[in-house]
Structures are given as C-alpha cells and as structure tokens.
C-alpha cells in the first residue's frame, strides 16, 4: 500500500476534477515565501506539514500566515519538526477559505460485502473513528453500474446538503468514484470536505494506492512507504519483511504460518524482532538473499519454520546453506530450524550436512529458539 502525502493526493483529485483550494508545495522556507510572493497561493494562507500521520493541527504541524514573511517562518518551523517519528520534508501552502460546514466523504472497500463502500458523515473535520456510528452513512456501490445517481442523492441527504452544495457533491462523488477505480486505490478520503459558499472544497486528501496494481501505475513507483531501510530492500527483492522491537528473527513461508510461529514464540517467552515471509518461492537464490537480509538485522537467534508446498524443503535448505557460507563471522547467529512438507527428507539431509538439525515438532523447536536467543543475548 502506498499512502500518498496530502499534496500528491490532491494532485490525483485535481486530475478527476475534485474542487480544491489554490495551493502549492514547498521544500524550503524560501520556496514557501516565493510561492506566496508569486501569487500562486493567495493570502491569508495555511502552511501544512506533509506527513502521513494524522492530528497535525494539535501537533504544531499546521500554521497560518498573513504575509509572505509569516509563510516563510511557518514553513521554517514546520520543516524543523519531527512529527510522530517522521521528518517533515515538505509543506503545502494553501489559501485560507471562508469555511461553512465540515463534512466527511470516503470510498473504500467493504471486504465482507465484497463491494466498494461510500462513507459519508455530516460530522467532518474530526477523525471518523470518533464519530457516532449513527451519524455515518455507508452505501455499498456495485462496480457494474458504478456509483448511481440515487446513491449520490442519498449521500447528499446524509450530509444535509441541498441546492448548490448538493449539486457540487454529485459531481465530486462521481470524480472520487472515478479516482477510486482508475487509480486502483484502497481509499480515497476527503476530511474535511468544506462547504464554501454555494460549493464544496476538499480541504484535505487521503489517497492510498493498492500495491498489487503497481503494474498499472508506474507513476507511483517513486513514492515510498514508511518502511525501514531493510524493509525497503526487502520490498525491492519481493520479500515480505517486517521489523519490530524483539530479538528473535523468524523466517517462515506464508502469512498464516509466520503469524502462528510468532504466537508460539510469544507463548514461550520469546520476543520476535524480524519477520521474514519467504512466500511461495522455489528459487534457492531468493532464500539466500532473504537470509543475508536477516543477518543484517542482527537477530539474537533465528527460528526457521518452513512447511514445504510450492516452496520445497530442499530449496530452502540449499539457500540457507549458501547464505551461511556468505554471512561474515561477525553477523553469524544461532539458528533453530524446523522444515516439514514437500521434499522434507532431502532438506533435512542438506541441513544436517551443514551442521544444522531440524526439530520436527513446532512446540519444541520454538522453545529451542527462545532458549537460543536468551543464550546469545
């Protein structure tokens, strides 16, 4: 999933005709000042940190400016922030509009219904999670006819809109629906959607692009998620890799087995730190790469738990043995292995020849891994 920063989300909105405040992004205080001086953002204006976390208003990450100098100062202050662990690298400057009501509109996927869902609430401007359920209208949208006129009318009613703003909403919802589908998004969200005079303006934009549709959207390839550097390398190598705060490295195949392994380790007092899901590979080179990546995360011990299906046990064993050969002495770690399933005997034999014993029982092997991590820590 690729979460777009507000200004990028607004570029998507602009493409589909969602009405927006006049605005411009800036990466330095002097750029911010220049943007205002050039007139491309009228005064008074808002200066907003371009970070992915919410709650910017309370965190000093949104400021107001009445002059170009103030805009520069605001940008300077915000660009110096680290907001909820994220360095602020960009600010968005936007005209300050005379705002009427603040509304909420989003389209996302309802997994249970297997349909997109249009979510609207007249209580915009706050986190939608904090809004009373009765004040939120959810309408499933079928992709065959697409978002219908009657659904758009119902949305207008739920937002208490009529006249000009209701008409504006109709076009805005069609634009959001198009963006939702054509940009392969998981979420398009406008919060707040502001009533400004007789129309509507999207004051914020939250757009999340689906990873699996990346082949249709090379334009998002450059945009990175909030991954650690190792996670980023893993993504490039198409290895599912998540870093946490424990010290046991877990290598398994398949999300379910990986999670089950974690559950068992926790049960026995282990503290998992890195999860690496080999998925359905049957290429020994990919296994080697995964192991080398794990080594870089410097775990106290590694627990390898593989059930061979598409991924054959011998493939994993071969990749592992090759990785052990390549890992520098300083990065070596104790290894507890459990490999079962397809080509199990062959895999166990390869491991044994490299001095690694596979423990067939999940419970005992997990206990061994916890002990190994304690021993090496």
């Amino acid at each position: 999933m690729v979460k777009l920063a507000e200004w990028r989300g607004k570029e998507v909105f602009r493409k589909y005709g969602v009405p927006l405040p006049r605005g411009h992004v800036a990466r330095t205080p002097s750029e911010a000042e220049a943007v205002v001086r050039s007139g491309s953002v009228p005064l008074p204006c808002v200066v907003k940190a371009q970070v992915l976390a919410g709650g910017r208003g309370k965190g000093g990450a949104v400021r107001f400016a009445n002059t170009a100098e103030e805009a520069r100062a605001a940008a300077e202050a915000i660009l110096a922030l680290e907001f909820k662990g994220e360095r602020v690298k960009e600010v968005l400057l936007e005209e300050k509009l005379p705002i009427g009501k603040e509304l909420y509109v989003a389209i996302t996927l309802d997994r249970a219904r297997r349909l997109p869902v249009l979510i609207t609430s007249a209580q915009g401007g706050v986190e939608i999670e904090s809004v009373d359920d009765a004040a939120i209208e959810r309408q499933p949208v079928h992709p065959f006819p697409g978002l219908t006129a009657y659904e758009r009318r119902r949305a207008a009613r739920s937002l208490g809109l009529s006249g000009g703003p209701a008409k504006a909403l109709d076009g805005l919802l069609l634009a959001l629906w198009k963006a939702f589908q054509q940009e392969d998004t998981e979420l398009v969200e406008v919060n707040p959607l502001a009533v400004v005079g007789d129309g509507l303006v999207a004051l914020d934009a939250k757009v999340i692009i689906e990873d699996d549709a990346a082949f249709r959207h090379p334009e998002y390839a450059e945009i990175r998620d909030d991954r650690t550097p190792l996670e980023e390398i893993a993504r490039e190598k198409e290895i599912a890799f998540v870093q946490l705060d424990g010290n046991i490295g877990v290598i398994a195949n398949g999300a379910g087995l990986t999670m089950a392994t974690l559950d068992v380790l926790k049960e026995f007092g282990g503290n998992p730190g890195v999860f690496l899901d080999l998925g359905g590979t049957d290429d020994p080179k990919k296994v080697t790469e995964a192991f080398l990546l794990m080594a870089q995360a410097k775990p106290a011990a590694v627990f390898l738990n593989i059930f061979g299906g598409v991924t054959r046990c011998d493939t994993v064993a071969r990749g592992l043995v090759e990785a052990m050969r390549q890992v520098p002495e300083s990065e070596r770690f104790p290894l507890v292995a459990r490999i079962r399933g397809n080509n199990e005997a062959e895999g166990i034999e390869i491991l044994r020849s490299a001095g690694v014993t596979s423990v067939p029982d999940l419970k005992s092997s997990a206990q061994a891994a916890v002990a190994a991590a304690r021993g090496s820590a």
Binding site: E210, M259, K363
Partner: protein, 294 residues
Amino acid sequence: MSVLVDRDTRVVVQGITGHQGTVHARQMREFGTQVVAGVTPGKAGTDVEGVPVFDSVRDAVEKTGANASCIFVPAPFAKDALLEAVDAGLTLATVVTEHIPFHDMLVMYHYARSKGSRIIGPNCPGIASPGKAKVGIIPNVVFRPGRVGVISRSGTLTYEIVNGIKEHGLGQSTCIGLGGDPVVGTSFVDALPLFESDPETDLIVLVGEIGGTGEEDAAEYIRHHVHKPVVAYIAGRSAPPGKRMGHAGAIITRGRGTAESKLAALERAGAHVARFPYEIPDMVAEIARAPGRR
C-alpha cells in the same frame, strides 16, 4: 459425494505451460485428479506431459468436457483468464495467482456470481478431497482420506494443520484454502454450509487469521446453522496492530478483526478454540473419539 470436487471433476489448467502450471498439473494428476486440458494462448496443439493444450478455455471445454479451472496465469492477466473460464461455462475456478488487484477481483467475483460460477481464491491453495480430486496446490503428502473438513484462510499453515491431522491417524473429507486477499471468491460463510451438509464430513476445522471480519461472520453463521463440531484456530494473536504480516488480509485496523474479537465470537458460537496450531489435531482426535459431542 464431497464438497465441490469429486471423481467427475475435469480440470483445465490455465497457464499450464508456465513453471507453476506444469508442476501443479502434474501434482494434481498424481493426486488422482482428471486433468483433461491446459490453456495457453498460441500454444494450441502442443501438450504438457501428455495434457493437451488449447488456445482458449472454450476450445478446451468443447474438446475435453472440462468443468473446473485452476488458474496460474500472472496477475495482470488473471482477470481475463477467469472471465474466460466463466464464459466457457465452468462452474468452479481456483485462482492460485497472487497479487491480483482487488479492483480486478471485484469484477471477477461479481461477474462469476452473476453467471453461477464459484471462485476459490485468489492467492490460495485451492481445494482437495483425498481420493477424489484436487484443484489447486496443496501438497499431496499432507492428505489422507477421512471425515475431517478443513476450511482455512492460510496457505502453508493449512498444510501444517492438515498434515498434523494425518499424523494423528485421522483424515480429511475436503480441505479448502480460501486465500487471504481482501476480496475472496469463497468465504468461510460460503464454505461452511457445504461442509455442514456434506455427509462425508463429521467435524469442521476452521483456520483463520487476524484482519477482516470473515471469522466473526463465520462465528455468527456457526451459531445459527452449523450442528457439526467446529475446531477453530486464529493465527496472529500476538501480531502488533497495524503491521503487515505478509499480505493485505493481515492488517489490523481499529479494533475490528482482532484475534480477540474473532476468538470471542467463535467461543460464543460454541466452537472448540485452539490456542496453537499443534493443539488442533489433539482436539480433533478427542472429538472424533466422542461422537455426538459438540
């Protein structure tokens, strides 16, 4: 009679000339499945280990009477492959392909449904009924014919659990791996009634994961409609909120879809809840030894 597949299942493998397609066509045959055709556009007239290859599913159906598909084609082309299978009149399609955009899957699901076709998957191990047929990629070695039905959202974890059941001297009636993608063709709630009404299934094992609300919905269904004993396990109890564990199905958001809510719902529904995968075979064996118990 079994669930969805049986000895009359005649499988066409879409993408048979690819590596995965070839390997799993072979394994399906080794399982005893009638793999009657393969499809790869432009390769009509050739064969893969004796299985004839056609340009289109329609041709394959006309020439071989195929009635189920197993789809291995790469994600960008998977939607088209499934639509082709549905239009050719196939009523069952296992989509093994992973990383299909969910927007594509929305079209696939609703189109298939409107035509009366069932999808298993995507990104799933598929379905197998030992001694009868397999449409998918679950390793043959884990199976043994028996009376335990297995429904799972996971891949390898399913193999692990199915294998554990076998190692306890029991066997499976049918096992379905639903896949864990955001949009699945067959959900727990879709699969449960098939096992409930299957005379060859005595007991149902349900393997869930954190994320989504499929397990909560399943619990609700079990509570009202399932009379056979259910053993349930949810993976990811100790996963940190908001971190991805490998696919989009495993995101925890806003308290819904947590392991706690799933486990509580299943317990309320009268399911036997296992805390770890290795507990499942023991529980199954115990219930199997005490028939009539719920």
